[in-house]
Symmetry: C2
Subunit: 672 residues, 2 copies
């Protein structure tokens, strides 16, 4: 809809105003007319166009009859060379001949457009008609903003979003460009000015910078300026400054702004941000000025996005501890073979906390012009707690965390309990970035551990990977990665869900017994050694595993429903648990190394070595797992994590973390 502005004109005084191309000025002629006026006629300079409504009946019905609802609509299609160079006058008549007076209007036409990359192609186009709203999907529109949550400084770090200055030129690329395009006379008429303004709420979520210099944009000159005078960037609007004048440079010019996101979407913030630019008209006689034209642009803050196992790895993170030399060597060998980077967190930083999976989750943020990884720091805060901020945050590596205020932080807040599925389609609804998976207590439980509400609220608010809550409180440690993972596959849905299965394990052990290998030993040559027969005879173990299978099956049903999986998309890995009587009730831990707790690096799997019974010198559990996974083109490497991880109730996955490439699917193309 064309923006209209009401204007009063007056036979006693020339009215001067500034007109913005693309709008309409409307004059209620009756209201402004001198008493007894019955007709009117109009004259104007050639660059001024007008129409009169209601349309007079005759074609040349000039002078026009003045009615109660006579409205004059004025437009112009070229900008003014000088202030007030365009004119229009209305002459009023009582009866056809006698003039009752002329109302004069002097006009200055300018072009004003606050522009963003509303079509999401990385370029700030001119005056996109959709720039003022957000629409999801490939046919959608609306500009994208990043939370500037990295740190341009690698030392003496602080989140860039926490300082309202631009510390380095490189910081500008984390921001979204916004351009004010104006065209008109060298100067605006006296007293007119341009103002950028935002709401109080918006000021908590973003800020806008611009070069302090008013120089017109000349690419080479500007480039030098940027490099030389860093402090020459100023905040235009943001916290404490909701409105500020911006320069009108005259002629046809572009003024660049840089928009910086400050907050991720959350329970009380849907991620949408509006910035306004107004032309302010002065008022005579000391009355307040008023906005006569407002242009509006909308941004959506990029959500924080997780990366499923099916995406290509970039870096593998693992801790070095006093006791994990052999494990580390195996991991290094696997990672080297795959050609990825290995990053080791040394003891001075990890202070013996080896659970690299639990302290942090890697994700990323994405915009058409820029993307970078962002680490989500868990409120778990073990001895690894400084690692994400101290060692990961840096230039183009962002950081975000959530603090539990009145809630108890439990083991379920560790990010072994935060995973994401590969892309799925569920009952026709597409999740091209997959769905987040967390573990909580049964909703029907009166007691029970949960993931803190602040983290849950954060995850749900990102919207593009709608979370699924599984039941993981049946485990001592309570992480979903203790009973499930995803591996890539060449067929079907392009992945398989792997689930730990005591039933599948018992089937292997019973087959061994039936095959005459009942005396074969689990944990061969280890102090824990125990025969297959002994395991099968352990009624308590069996009962516990029946319970565990029930718990996992409950999750299986939820995953099938929420990810749209068929039975063929699921593989049961033979894993036994044992149930321990804790103060708050019985809970389970893996009986032998929990093979589902693996690291997935493309088609290479680093699987906890199960130390299962051997037949003909080979471990039947390894054989079974290989038989299940190798047909999918996956390569299984079994890694001994027994002493430094398994005995401490974790495995390979718990002790590692993988940063992966962002999805090729861009989040704004989701249909929400």
């Amino acid at each position: 809809m064309v923006s209209q502005r009401s204007l009063t004109i007056d036979t006693e005084k020339t009215t001067k105003t500034t007109y913005v191309l693309g709008t309409e000025l409307t004059v209620n002629l009756n209201r402004c007319a001198p008493p007894l006026a019955k007709f009117f006629s109009i004259k104007c300079t050639p660059n001024v166009h007008y129409k009169v409504t209601p349309q007079a009946r005759g074609k040349n019905a000039v002078p026009y009859p003045l009615t109660r609802s006579s409205v004059l609509i004025i437009t112009m299609d070229t900008v003014s060379e000088t202030a007030n160079d365009s004119k229009l006058s209305v002459r009023y008549y009582g009866e056809k001949t006698d003039s009752l007076g002329d109302a004069l209007l002097h006009l200055t036409a300018v072009e004003i457009s606050l522009d963003v990359d509303a079509d999401r192609d990385g370029v700030v186009e001119k005056n996109n008609p959709n720039k003022g709203s957000w629409k999801w999907g490939p046919k959608g529109h609306g500009a994208v903003l990043l939370v500037n949550c990295d740190s341009e400084a690698a030392y003496k770090k602080t989140l860039d979003s926490e300082t309202d200055e631009i510390s380095k030129i490189s910081d500008l690329k984390d921001m979204s460009k916004m351009i004010l395009r104006t065209n008109g006379p060298a100067e605006l008429p006296d007293g007119y000015k341009l103002t950028m303004h935002i709401s109080q709420t918006t000021s908590e979520n973003m800020r806008v910078f611009r070069p302090r210099t008013n120089a017109k944009i000349d690419n080479s000159f500007r480039h030098q300026l940027l490099k030389l005078f860093l402090k020459d960037y100023m905040m235009v609007v943001g916290k404490g400054t909701l409105t500020q004048e911006v320069p009108y440079l005259g002629g046809k010019t572009e003024l660049e702004f840089f928009v910086e996101g400050l907050r991720f979407p959350d329970k009380d913030f849907n991620g949408l941000i509006t910035i306004n630019l107004s032309l302010i008209e002065p008022s005579s006689m000391g009355f307040p000025e008023s906005p006569v034209f407002t242009d509006q642009v909308v941004f959506h803050i990029s959500p924080w996005i997780m990366t499923p196992n099916t995406l290509k790895p970039v870096e593998v993170y693992v801790c070095s501890t006093k006791d994990n030399y052999t494990f580390l060597k195996s991991i290094r060998k696997l990672v080297d073979k795959c050609g990825y980077k290995l990053k080791i967190c040394h003891e001075y930083m990890n202070r013996g906390d080896r659970w690299m999976q639990d302290e942090l989750e890697f994700g990323y943020i994405d915009s058409p012009h820029h993307q970078f990884p962002v680490v989500l720091d868990s409120p778990r805060d073990g001895d690894l707690q400084d690692f994400p901020y101290e060692s990961i945050l840096g230039p183009d590596f962002g950081y975000v965390t959530r603090y539990a205020s009145n809630e108890e932080v439990t083991s379920l807040d560790s990010f072994g309990n935060l995973e994401v599925s590969p892309p799925v389609t569920v009952n026709g609804k597409s999740y091209p970035l997959g769905r987040i998976i967390i573990g909580v207590a049964f909703p029907t439980a009166t007691h029970g551990r949960n993931m803190t509400q602040v983290v849950q609220d954060f995850l749900w608010a990102q919207k593009v990977q709608e979370p699924i809550a599984l039941f993981s409180d049946w485990l001592v440690v309570g992480h979903v990665d203790e009973f499930m993972t995803f591996v890539p596959a060449p067929d079907q849905k392009k992945f398989r869900l792997l689930l730990a299965s005591p039933d599948a394990a018992y089937k292997v052990f019973r087959s061994l017994e039936k095959g005459g290998h009942g005396d074969a030993k689990m944990f061969p040559d280890m102090p824990e050694a125990i025969t297959v027969n002994e395991i099968l005879d352990d009624k308590k173990l069996l009962a516990g595993n029946r319970y565990v299978q029930n718990c996992i099956d409950w999750n299986r049903d939820v995953l099938k429903k929420e990810l749209g999986l068929d039975e063929e998309d699921i593989i049961d890995l033979p894993i036994l648990f044992k149930v321990i009587e804790e103060k708050t009730g019985p809970r389970a831990v893996a009986y032998y190394p929990d093979m589902v707790n693996m690291i997935v690096l493309g088609d290479q799997l680093g699987i906890p070595k199960p130390f299962g019974p051997k037949v003909n010198g080979t471990c039947v559990l390894e054989t079974e797992v290989c038989a299940l996974l190798e047909p999918l083109g996956l390569k299984c490497t079994f890694i001994d994590d027994f002493a430094p991880y398994h005995k401490l109730l974790g495995e390979v996955h718990c002790g590692s973390n993988v940063r992966r490439e962002p999805s090729p699917f861009r989040w704004w193309n989701m249909e929400l």
Copy 2:
């Protein structure tokens, strides 16, 4: 999608479970099979149905070949008479003839449905397939909940939502009925139970009650129970109780629940509420129980809805003060003529605060089963502050307020600054309940008064009357009702927007002058008397009114755009303002009684008497206003509010309030 549950069966032990009609039990046969099993066959009692996937090739391929992905899917279509009365067994074979064992399954079939009025017809239908989700619109679905914000007690009042007991039987009608329908054997199998459960967040927004007695519903008996034993209602779930067992009564029974809303939608609450009911299965050997079936219902809390001037009045509220006897008499006469109720707030309560419009706003909440008015109490808190709670809150009259915490409360928080338009359609988008209108400072202003954010957040969160923010800070008092109102009309959009217009006023005065009445006196026979010529000669007054006309025109443009109005939908009333130099700048007040600040009672308008210049004994301002409004079928009564209101910077509308009938349009039928 049919709800599926994975089940493990076992050749070593009979499995017993309870099946819920409408679901599917799935058994992964391979995982449960004995080692070396190659085939299987199935037998079952007649009420049990099954299918096997993948389907065996031959038609009578029994025994079925056992494959890695063999799944048995079990359903039943009638409920059990007694526990475990239905049976199924799977026999496994190695080669075709030799049995490896039978896995036995004993089944108890029950029917469970947690029901709500998801089709919004006032009746709780059985197992509506859409009961678990919310959809706006006439073809939408989802049950409706009221915030129980009235007080069943008229004395010693407290909001019903603030007590977790049911104080009177009449309180039940403010709640939404929810019925648990079950059918099955007289008792559930040992250890099974039904549990209702909600999330932590939901527990802050609603609670559920039920009769304490477990008696089956027998209408006459129940009715007596309800009347006799009030304390026989207990809270099932709510704050502090997220989960609680509910009785299974056996046979075909219905158990009634009453759901009570506690909080209106707000910035951090979208109004949606989920309640779950689960069937809990016991676990043997001291392991925790687990939910095996969950039914879910969704409610949407009714928003607080305002009533535009075009709705039929019910009651008129006005204050009695030491000095307003004549005014009160005029109002009573007008209200009596219309046949509405007049409610007078006496001095002991109003303590001299006469601004009945400003302390409160009447609205209502609505559900298919019940609706009642709700007063929104302003954070203004003048001497009238106790009136809404003390005098209005009561049985079937609700109360809601918002407290400003860190914000300054200004005159713009008075509810003369909170209005609502009649129904409009804007660019194809329909607002059948109209749009809320508030006044704030210019968004470009560096200083300026605003409506507190808590109230704005509340208004926006109601969603069904999307607010419009106008510019009202140009006025000393700063209320939108000082320059605009809506009146009903028989044609066009069924209403007109009336705007105060200095231009229109000057036109009247200039016509007087031209007609030879320049000596006629404004405020005739009053100390303030002043001639038309003197008014027209006052350049300062003229300049101030030019500024005022600009301010109103700015709002006119916003209203035209946001309400989809044409010029023909707007009527300019001849009203002059004068601009006063305040500490924070110039601001305007009405020069003579502000006729737009009227009370609208159907086609009867109570308009501030302007005391304009007289020609032939009649006031030209009254004549002009009548000429503008009477053609619409409206009747103008001019009420003298000069001394007790106008001189204190308010008029008829500021000093009154009207409670109106709810809109016939139901809010859930909006397309959002």
